[in-house]
Symmetry: C2
Subunit: 139 residues, 2 copies
Amino acid sequence: MQGKSIGELKVGDKVSVTRAFSEQDVAAFAQVSGDHNPAHMDEEYAKGTMFKTRIVHGMLVGSLFSALLGTELPGVGSIYTGQTLKFTKPVHFGEEITASVTVKEIIAEKNRVILDCLAVNPQGEPVILGEATIMPPRK
Amino acid sequence: MQGKSIGELKVGDKVSVTRAFSEQDVAAFAQVSGDHNPAHMDEEYAKGTMFKTRIVHGMLVGSLFSALLGTELPGVGSIYTGQTLKFTKPVHFGEEITASVTVKEIIAEKNRVILDCLAVNPQGEPVILGEATIMPPRK
């Protein structure tokens, strides 16, 4: 089941997912990425940081956008050509993060779509803001 | 061992890492991110795509930058405030990718450093181009 082609998308289309990251998730991401920064891995170290506790890797939280784009909107068959990410707040272990992608601009002649990307914490504060550029599947 | 503070960095400072991603790495990233797009997971499906075979998740390759920034340059204690990524070529399973980050601009009064991010394949072709914005550790 292919995702939506450019003609099937409209500005404002939106999907979202809510997800919390566990200590095990953070360890798995550290393993696969090689990012063993103690801010994510070592609670004793993290107590001395400005965040006072371990935080989830920003790129792991950002990967929620990749999941939404590649499986839901536009969905399967999309080609990911760009992503910007601003990390605006730390994400704590176990905190429920709601990530959403919203169609912002459709450039039909180039088969490109630009989507706003937003992840918020349970207080509704943005933790990541960004934009994705996608080539939707052709049909 | 804290990373480098703003006064210890200079334009042109560079670190790099070479890494290949296996089928197991891609499966682990799919699990932790929720990104089960068949372009990464299903060889039969992938044969019908423009890339003709499964490819590595762009955000997994991009996480090499996070690893370099958080553990080497500036290193431990850095705060990641932004990342841009342009995915310019597909990355195949087992392909040795060299990712590097290079100090491009130092904004001392804001304690910010901007680093160029580049990942290349064994043919020397860029697979990701981007920029990271970091607050280096204060000493």
